[in-house]
Symmetry: none
């Protein structure tokens, strides 16, 4: 399927194809396709651009990941489909290992995920399930070298149960979620309401820019996640008011 250069929704259609390709390759679940559609609707309400609100959250997240003693980047099927290279670059910049974290976990999908991430240059990849967070069965499994001992975890496009379990385990949780009303968005310590394809490269830039600053703690302390979420909601509401009328 070729998307014409002139198509007004070209970027959005290309992203769809990346997720569909992930399903075909076996590491993205078909339910991930649904999650992607949901993200599309919220991104539309954002104007499909990184808002100043999201940029502030992304900067605070970069500072927190630099402050961490044991940062971990969690990767699932949609992240691996949408930003494999960019995610590996972020891991190298911090530096932080990347841990595979599948909601629908099977040995086969784990192998496909590993292949996808390694083929995009990932060297520091954690795939074990030899530890546990939270009480929930399969989805509580984590790598003993990764999330189990991490202090700051980036979990983009995450399920609410998992986020809550990470919080209960005392982790500092950073997420990227287009839905400012999701449980993950509300429970995380820093929520970046943005499309992951725009957000991850921006975070890598912030990591580079902030690395030598001595006010990283001040940057994260002054960030108010609840206010930031309210501001994102206002952006979406204004767009519903603004561009769409029923005539």
């Amino acid at each position: 399927m070729i998307v014409p250069d002139s198509h007004p929704r070209r970027q959005s259609l290309l992203l769809r194809e990346r997720v569909a390709a992930g399903v075909k390759s076996g590491f993205t679940s078909s339910v991930g396709l649904i999650a992607h559609g949901r993200g599309e609707a919220f991104d539309y309400l954002l104007g499909e651009e990184t808002t100043p609100v999201a940029e502030a959250a992304c900067r605070a997240a970069a500072a927190q990941l630099l402050l961490a003693e044991r940062p971990v980047l969690s990767v699932n099927g949609n992240v691996a489909a949408l930003v494999p290279e960019e995610y590996v670059a972020l891991g190298k910049a911090i530096p932080a290992p990347i841990e595979v974290n599948l909601f629908y976990r099977t040995p086969e999908r784990m192998r496909f995920m590993e292949a996808q991430m390694r083929s995009h240059g990932c060297e520091n990849l954690l795939c074990n399930e030899d530890a546990r967070i939270g009480v929930d069965s399969e989805r509580g499994k984590v790598d003993a070298r990764g999330q189990a001992v991490a202090d700051v975890i980036l979990v983009p496009l995450e399920d609410g149960d998992r986020t809550e379990a990470l919080k209960r385990a005392g982790k500092f949780v950073v997420t990227i979620d287009l839905n400012p009303l999701s449980r993950t968005a509300r429970k995380a310590d820093i929520t970046i309401v943005d499309n992951i394809v725009r957000c991850v490269p921006l975070m890598t830039r912030f990591v580079g820019d902030l690395r030598d600053r001595d006010d990283l703690e001040e940057i994260t302390r002054s960030f108010d996640n609840k206010q930031n979420l309210r501001d994102s909601l206002q952006v979406m509401k204004a767009r519903l008011d603004d561009t769409h009328s029923v005539d």
Copy 2:
């Protein structure tokens, strides 16, 4: 995959799995999965419940279907995945035949659709493509006993092109669409902004309740679709505005 009973988004996850199962069975397209995800986002903004606004539209729709001389219920891959039994029950209650209507139509998918609907008790199923509405190639094909001669057509989760073709052909179009901004939502005569899994059983109840009323025409005449759509948008805006949602 088993969704835990305790998961707060259990209902939503189960619906996802029904659509994913439709793809696996071959009658739902993978693009239908993305569409389902977009619907989920709008349902989120509705509070995942049937609003009084949607209920009013659903009641008017039931009245119009009872008034029709030749009502037809159109079924596509997402409808067949989400509410096969409930849709058959609605068809029996009115009564009205159900016509298969696929955006991506292949003989194989038509066979799978037929099997899905018949296995859920559908006896009055129309699958021919021996007539045509509108100017558009493949997607203009309809059954000569169904949409071609129908006066009132229920087309849930419908593409805008198709809705416009039905309107040009002089049909009274009723739709169920979670996105009040879609072309289908704006072009239909009655648009119910609701999740189809809640809406179809409700419509069946209205059909039962209204059947013997002699003021059906008054009920449909007093319904203002554009105002109803504006009211649905207001519900969504109010939810985005609700500061309690970020507490």
